[in-house]
């Protein structure tokens, strides 16, 4: 088997941007494996879970094929709504589990496990018998499930899934593929997991932003925004859109950004060649407007700003902040309200 290693599911049914089909392939000879590998490497794989541009394949996994009798699905999820772990299992493995849940919800087994009690033998038996396992298979399933559950608790996973979990012709259980997602807030507990981060799988601008503790997501538009607070950042994107503009990014500089972070934020924004204008919207609470204003001034001078900049400041020390912007001699437009700011930047960019 040759498997493209990208951080997205649906690889088997995916198509590469050059038309080559299938990110997971069974090869009957070493030569076929080699040619398959060469077709995948460096190519961009598009799946249900990637963007239309796909993900560049930079790593491949070669493994023995397996004589499969049946494919199952098994996962442990930390369910946010109910604040407990839930085992999810299905006899319909090997394919898109969301599709199974949608088309045949009765084929999805859900077993909640309370976090303070932990996984018990009866949970494992319930899942095993519901999946139709018998004899030693029940014990094998219990062992796998205990492994999944303990790993999920110890390493703070949000999702750990085996898909497919298969039975071979002898009836033994084998985990053929797996996916794990971790709680970013808990990475400090698990430095070994943090070390596994593969920045090749991320947008370089997002990697750069995370180094400065900035929350940045690249988008398709041409109006960059820099905002404090995730909710206000989303609202700022929304209002840009309502005035007919397209946001180039989501950028939350957080509650207590300093001058260095603001400068880094400007550099990241401007490294996107699509950006034709910048809207800064800061409602100072923890963050003081005079500090952000100083950051804007020094950053704008540092990066020799070449696109229109509209700044809307409100909140703590707003008057001092406005004075700093005014006296800086920078070419920028100050706006008093969010609507005014969005209207001005949209006009300037489309003009």
């Amino acid at each position: 088997m040759v498997k493209a290693q990208i951080h997205a599911g649906g690889r088997g049914k995916g198509t590469f941007t050059d038309g080559y089909k299938g990110g997971v392939q069974l090869c009957d000879s070493p030569e076929k494996a080699k040619s398959t590998a060469l077709s995948m490497l460096g190519n961009h794989l598009v799946t249900k879970q990637t963007s239309p541009q796909g993900r560049k394949v930079q790593t491949l996994y070669f493994t023995e094929g397996c004589d499969i009798d049946h494919e199952y699905y098994l996962a442990v999820v930390l369910d946010r709504e109910s604040a407990q772990t839930v085992i999810i299992a299905s006899t319909e493995g090997g394919m898109d589990i969301e599709a199974v849940a949608e088309k045949t919800p009765e084929k999805i087994i859900r077993v909640p496990v309370s976090l303070d009690m932990g996984l018990k033998p009866h949970h494992c038996r319930l899942v095993a018998f519901k999946l139709g396992f018998t004899g030693t298979q029940v014990k094998e399933l219990s062992k796998i499930l205990n492994g999944l559950y303990n790993f999920s608790i110890e390493k703070n996973t949000e999702l750990i899934e085996i898909n497919p979990l298969v039975t071979n012709k002898e009836g033994s259980l084998i985990a053929l593929d797996a996916k794990v997602s971790f709680d970013g807030n808990a990475l400090y507990k698990n430095p070994d997991i943090a070390e596994l981060r593969d920045t090749n799988e991320e947008d370089p601008k997002e990697v750069e932003a995370s180094a400065f503790n900035l929350n940045y997501i690249a988008l398709e538009g041409n109006i960059a925004c820099m905002v404090n607070g995730a909710g206000l950042a989303m609202a700022t994107m929304d209002i840009i859109k309502s005035y007919g503009g397209e946001p180039a990014n989501f950028l939350d500089v957080g509650g207590g950004a300093n001058e260095e972070q603001v400068t880094a934020a400007f550099k990241i924004i401007l490294s996107d060649p699509n950006v034709k204008g910048i809207l800064v919207n800061i409602f100072g609470g923890i963050m003081k407007c005079d500090i952000i204003a100083r950051g804007i001034v020094s950053a704008a001078k540092n990066v020799s700003l070449s696109v229109p900049l509209v700044v809307r400041l409100e909140g703590t020390n707003v008057e001092a902040g406005k004075v700093i912007l005014k006296e800086s001699g920078l070419e920028l437009t100050s706006a008093d309200s969010l609507a005014e700011a969005a209207e001005i930047i949209t006009k300037q960019v489309t003009a």
């Binding site: 930390l78 976090l115 709680d183 807030n185 400090y188 995730a230 909710g231 989303m234 929304d238």
Partner: protein
Amino acid sequence: MSILVNKNTRLVVQGITGNAGTFHTQQCVDYGTNVVAGVTPGKGGLKWENSVPICNTVNEAVIQHGANTSVIYVPPPFAADSILESIDAGIELIVCITEGIPVQDMALVRHKLNQSSVNTRLIGPNCPGIITPGQCKIGIMPGYIHKEGRVGVVSRSGTLTYEAVWQLTQKGLGQSTCIGIGGDPINGTSQKDAVQLFNEDPDTDAIIMIGEIGGSAEEEACEYIKKHVSKPMAGFIAGASAPKGRTMGHAGAIISENGAGTAEAKFQSMEEAGVKIAKNPSEIADALMTCYSG
């Protein structure tokens, strides 16, 4: 004139000697909040800024200083334990400002809060806090943007709440109480809880609810609103322009692949529940004024 906090609130600050704790405690004291004690383990017996007594434990703050409410500025690895400490000490209302608490830690806190023997309410985590204008400010919101009045505000966001409050204040509409419930997927007080408290408060005449994409907190609130709320309400949902499958800053702000939790669906629930919606974040106060004049 308020819910949850007022001039009788006796606040203990957990993490009072840290940078954030010190800065925001000063702001709250200046606003008029009655800060009766602080907690920093090992510094018990000292005084913060020569005025507020520091205790080693929340238990001590409750017994010796009569604290009934706590605010938490403790770093994420220790914050969940600080919440549990306050619950065990019998604190009635906990406001947790800390951002970045592991989800599993919060799941365990949620279990504790759900126990029938526990009568504590949690606001947050990852939230700006709660303020009853003119009486008591707990958290990191700028005090001056608020004005005493009769509009209740509940929001999942921090700075977007300030935006809405500032619009109200500029239009002369004061607030009874403003609550930021926080952007985390597992939290204490929900949108529905807050709306219910406002609905039952005789000094709140109108309610603003601000949500974000992701989860079903707004939909659940709308179910309640449809059945029980006749007070004028307006609302806004942030994230209509967000792409699917990406977490936008707040861990809770993600649209799932199957389309649940979209801004569109949430706006629709609000309209069906009789909530006036602001299509645009700069028109939140205007939306309320179409059905309420103060």
